[in-house]
Amino acid sequence: MKELSLNILDVAKNSVKAEASLIEIELIETEKTLLIRIKDDGYGMDKEFLSRVLDPFSTSRTTRKVGLGLPLLKLAAEQTEGSLSISSVPRGGDQPSGTTVEAFFHKDHIDFTPLGDIVSTIELLIQGNPDIDFRFVHTMPDKEVSLDTRELREVLGDEVPLNDFAVLSWIRGSLEEQYEEQGSNPDME
């Protein structure tokens, strides 16, 4: 993957598949580090699956036996001497179920993959999954960009879906404005 935002798009789809109703994507940046956290309230994984989920030959798909989303994100993190961790609570227990993936990066490492066009990633996640709620927060040293589809839904009511093209344009515009408004741009495509 040429951009970490593509890994995020890919890995967030695991949460969609896990029947999440809320997917939270947090990016926490300092001058030298980046933490990507993807958290969902989907059906989670049991210990056995969790233990082999980073193996490229492990997948939840049934049509083929190879799943590469998480291993690719792990590789991207580890090649900056960072790391990836996953915690998960399976559905059916006392605790609310869900999965949290955290990937930690050293931005000044020569093998750091740029974040790239995160605005497109968020827009297209909403475009493809209008019935799921997304909360996006990108914290940088000098500013914060955020979007919560639950707030948008309150205004739009039931008759306008989140993937209506006018709404998607608004979402893109809102994110781009927030990135531009308060100083430096993220590195866009």
Partner: protein
């Protein structure tokens, strides 16, 4: 910052449009967005499609995402389902090819054969 007021206006405008949309036969554009598609460049293709549909104000067109179609080496793959037409599969898609497909196929009804799986595979 973009205001939620603008969203409320979108909602108002939409109230009148729903009936109109349902009256027309719908064209479905489906983009493969699994790991293979994304890695091959499907995101900018999907972006270009969404933008074109907005720009051209195409009321009877939906753009949806799907998983892996099983031909990873030909990704990014875009399939078009139009009423009364066979499915058309475009392979090795790029954003550059999008305007031509929108113009000739989506608006004109004539698939752009040179970008289809049939042309690329033979």
């Amino acid at each position: 910052m973009k205001s939620l007021e603008e969203l409320a206006q979108i909602r108002e405008r939409m109230k009148n449009k729903v009936a109109l949309r349902e009256a027309n036969g719908e064209i479905r554009i489906v983009v493969g967005m699994a790991t293979c598609g994304i890695a091959a460049g499907a995101r900018p293709v999907l972006n270009a499609l969404v933008e074109s549909v907005v720009k051209e104000d195409l009321k009877n067109v939906t753009v949806t995402q799907t998983g892996c179609i099983g031909m990873c080496r030909l990704e990014p793959i875009v399939e078009v389902f139009a009423p009364d037409q066979d499915r058309v599969t475009y392979v090795k898609m790029t954003p550059d090819k999008v305007p031509e497909i929108i113009e000739k196929h989506i608006k004109g009804g004539h698939p752009v054969t040179k970008y289809t799986i049939g042309a690329v595979e033979n």
